[in-house]
Amino acid sequence: MEEYPEELRTPPVALISLVGCSDHHPAISGHLHSLQPPMNVLALPDFSKIQAVLTKKAKEPGAGDPPSGILKRDWLLKHRTRVPAVVAAMFSSAHVSGDPAQWLQVCTELENLKAAARPRNIKLVVIVVQSSSADDINEDRMIALRKRADVDSKYLVIYTPSDASELKQSLNRLANVFVELANTYYRDEGRRMKTRVEKKSFSSIELNIRYCFKVAVYAEFRRDWVEALRFYEEAYRILREMIGTSTRLPPIQRLVEIKHVAEQLHFKVSTLLLHGGKIIEAVTWFRQHNASYKRLVGAPEAIYLHWEWMSRQFLVFAELLETSSATTQTISSVTADNPDRGLTEWEFRPAYYFQLAAHYLKKKRSSLDIALSMLVNANEIDGGAESVAPSTFVGQFARLLEQGEALSFQPIDDEEYIHYALTEGKRFQDSYEIIALFNRSYESYSNLRVQRMGSTCGLEIAKEYFLVGDFTTAKQFFDNFAHLYRQEGWVILLWEALGYSRECSKKMGAVKNFVESSLEMASLPVSSDYIQSLGFKECGPAGPPSLPERESIHKEILELVSGELGVRSLEETNDLNVTEGNPLHLEIDLVSPLRSVLLASVAFHEQTVKPGASTLMTLSLLSQLPLTTEIDQLEVQFNQSEYNFTITNAERPHSTSKITSGTQNHRVETAASLSLVTNKWLRLTYEIKSEQSGKLECISVIAKLGPHFTIFCRAESPASMDGLPLWKFEDRVETYPTKDPALAITGQKVIQVEEAEPLVDLNLGDSGAALVGESFMVPVNIAARGHDIYSGELKINLVDVKGGGLFSTRETEPSTMDGHHVELLSVAGAEWEDESQKEAEKINNIQQSFGLVSIPFLKIGDTWSCKLEIKWYRPKPVMLYVSLGYSPHGNELNAQKIHVHKSLQIEGQNPVLISHRFLLPFRRDPLLLSKMKAVSENNQFTSLPLNETSILILSAKNCTEVPLQVESLYVEVDEDCVATSCLIKPGSEDLAHSGLLVPGEEFRKVFMVIPQVNSSTLGMGTVCLRWRRHPGSGVQVSCIQEDSVLTRHKLPDVNVELAPLTITLECPPYGILGDPFTYFIKIHNQTQLLQEVKFSLADSQSFVLSGSHNGTTYVLPKSEHILSYKLVPLVSGPLQLPKVTLTSVRYSAGYQPSVNASTIFVYPSKPHLKVADQREGRTESVAAK
């Protein structure tokens, strides 16, 4: 696009001419330039010049003669720079209103101007420059001036530059006038041309095209894009028709001219379309343009002109598309809207056109080369073409003849033209142009992440660099883009790229790169299928992709590395060779493209092995190289370098030198043959014996192929081996690296060497279930049976059986001590009493569920033991893991450790279940008001009467399976309770009997409680039970610490309140059948108030009773009222005394003594009680329950 002249590239600009008063020209032209759209100014200082500018040159040949060209080359330029639409004559007001001589001059100048402008229809404007606003202009003169100039009054403008605001106004006025007149001028001109077109008043088709073009240009001047487009298209259409008919010029030049004109018209059309945002139309238009001219190749000797032209079409359109801002935004919507037009998304992308431009330029170059080569003598063309130059018509060339001052053009024949064109063609370096085009395309594609198209462009760039001899750059490009083909398996494309790359390396003398490319090519899966269709030339230096070609490449490399032959590169100085001074070392890893050259699979036949035992290892090598390759020597390397070994080829005994320097006692194996046949596994199986436990891994295999050529190949496990990336798509039989298919699926290049069998016993004493609270002892015994124990270490781990192993359940039970339900307290062992300080510290450092203990040196036969002290805080089953690690042979740092593991599950149990209950004194019932309400409110607290003696019975039940010895049971008052708030004293003296509890038995103790504070939540304290396992009750005695254990149980709070009334029932301890006794009901008023109490006594069939059944009585404050009855029991046995119901009127609460309290046992006759009274009491108390 840059090569187009500016007047073609940019839309036309109206031209105004200013004459006279040159001082004011800069201001006016500056203003006109800044207009939108701008106007050009042709400023002429005085009137004499205008004549020269405006006078027409000699009239073109008569209308009858056919024109000698379609478009004049300078027509557009002329309208931009020489032919103004409007001429503005500027006169100063002084002159206008000056003396008659001045006036006369004004008139003359005006007349001359008119005479010059009229024939060409150029519009006239008269400007009178008023030097100051104060200046008076003679009105008559003004009218006269207007008449002379023959202009409308509005085209006589007064220009006042004196002050800023006036100047601005004048300029705007001027601009408006100019715009209006210019439009008129171009409209008139356009109309004139249009009539000619419409009336078909032209003598030849060339003129038709020219007129259409002119109409379009004039329309463009007026910004009438629609009309411009219509006439450009019309011109284009007519031009296309002309191709077959025109005979004016010799055939080659004729076509050249038409194409040039077509190019201009097409450019205009595309520009207009794109600027109008009609991108789809533009693309469609270009497609048509391309289609209609693509085949117009022209004469064979000038064919390259066609390709050049084609290339330019694409380039220009690409650039237009690129600059058109609409492009990028609307592509997706555009393609979405137009599925029917058959436009593809690619056709909206500049990259596509750049690529094709480059493509056509390549075609041009090759045709040009052919054309040049056909010339017998290259110098021949240089002479004749010198004076040929572009002629006055677009697309025409002619010989420039100098005849004195004047220059004239003489038409040339086609031969001369071709000569000229070839000379021109030779001047350009097409390669760099092509690279630039492809590069633009490539970058554009890369930005769109269109990698394959981009790669194609990249490959083309590389080929151009290769052609111009820039091998370093070329190779870089080839290698970059080969990657994509390798990745996607496009073998033929890869072959091509590699072939170039290989050639570049050769030219550069880079041996390693050369060998790598060659080996990769030789191992590519190309077979004979492709030969038929691929020519030699097409694939570049690689030659056709075929098996013979691969073989010859392979052979070349074999010879090179064997040192027999150096491959000559172009420059004699850098021969490719592999010698002692220039050895070659290739590395092949898991992602290398050279994996198909050499693939090493290593599989141990077992996954684990005992130390010292030997196992088998299969080393399998595979190569896809076409020829059989003989390996001189193989070295197998392990992660433990002492196992490295070398395999030598028995057929080549001379080459036993080591590849890498290793230890002296290096293992050397000899194999009968180390020939690698194409696609056939070379399997070698060797015995490996490992002494050291741990991981033994084969790292790599190094193959030596010639005296100075080695390939380092990373070992792969068959189990995790990927297929060869390119060969995996080939339809061929795949074989396993090992004979055993199972091993091929599961085989690993790593083997785990196990530890030696431990010859040490580790025993954990099983002591049954642990009890919460006690320090539970687990004895650990170590007996060195067959090994000495050096630097032994005992690891102890406590893990929750239910999984996890976490003891901290803080989130659920925040009250737990340190979050641990089970804790490893200490490790106690007699052996290291002396250094216990240190050990204790060591254990303290570690967590509560984990311990680490050092074991002293033990000789064979020695034993050692310790005890683990574990404490349970919650009943919970726990896994105890103990592992002993030791080394049997001395204290060296790297000595192999042997481990023994033991585990034991231990249940944690609650030893006792403590329960309690409160009782009121026998046959004494306080009226507790809260109890009355409690029925509805479900009060959780037990209520106790204030200052009354209540009875607390504590019982502890043995929940374990072992007998427990209870040492003491007492209630500890909480610290925060005042000592006097509640008096708790044991109801009886301390344990009379032994306190031994067999499993399931309950221990009970009675306390008297006298609450002394009226409180709704009185803390009762904590029950403390001191117990121990009963000695001599089990076999595990030894492991239980003899200290007694304190189990605590918090009592719930109670509600204490004052009972206003208390009833006490009094009767003998027992009755005798028929024997009357007295039954007292004592009502005690504890308040300061008079209490009215209603009472009633129900009849009972068991008794005959005397006394009042119902009644109301008043009990004085702080006094007692006694109701007494005489009762005669009628039957024997436990009998219910007649039921008493009391109702306190003040509290409207009625209550009855409990059933228990009103029971009496009646003997048939008087018993002979010889047993102690204590017994009797006990029986009764049991009965009372």
Partner: protein
């Protein structure tokens, strides 16, 4: 005239590529087929909103190059068929028909128990039926 047909696997690897020209442009056809995968990617990733084309196996004209037109077809199994023709005026219906027959031939070829999924198609029967279909295409578009 069809100058090239290709089957490209779901890893964009060529499974079958056959050109039908006398000229030395097989390599170029390889490039064209390879590049057309970009268009397929683009078209599949940015599907057109218009209804009937959505997820259709036939992808239509992929792109015109200097002398060729490239058509594409993407099966449900992510296998791409690519057709390169020199005909300037091709009816979509003909291409659709071609691809339908081609797909059938492909289906037969990969259903061969000796064919390993994902590998190149080397079946001679397939090659024969492809060349029959290709020839038929020329006839139908000419008539």
């Amino acid at each position: 005239m069809i100058v090239c047909v290709a089957v490209v696997g779901h890893q964009n690897n060529p499974l079958y590529i056959q050109s039908f020209t006398e000229a030395d442009d097989a390599l170029k056809l390889h490039h064209i087929v390879h590049c057309s995968l970009d268009v397929i990617d683009e078209r599949v990733n940015n599907p057109k909103k218009s209804g009937p084309l959505l997820n259709e196996t036939f992808l239509g004209l992929l792109y015109p190059t200097e002398n060729y037109k490239v058509y594409g077809y993407l099966t449900n199994t992510k296998v791409k068929f690519i057709l390169v023709t020199t005909d300037l005026d091709v009816k979509d219906a003909d291409v659709r028909n071609f691809f339908r027959r081609f797909h059938a031939a492909y289906g037969d070829a990969v259903s061969n128990p000796f064919h390993v999924p994902g590998k190149k198609i080397t079946s001679r029967t397939f090659a024969e039926s492809v060349s029959t279909i290709v020839k038929a295409f020329g006839l139908s578009s000419a008539g």
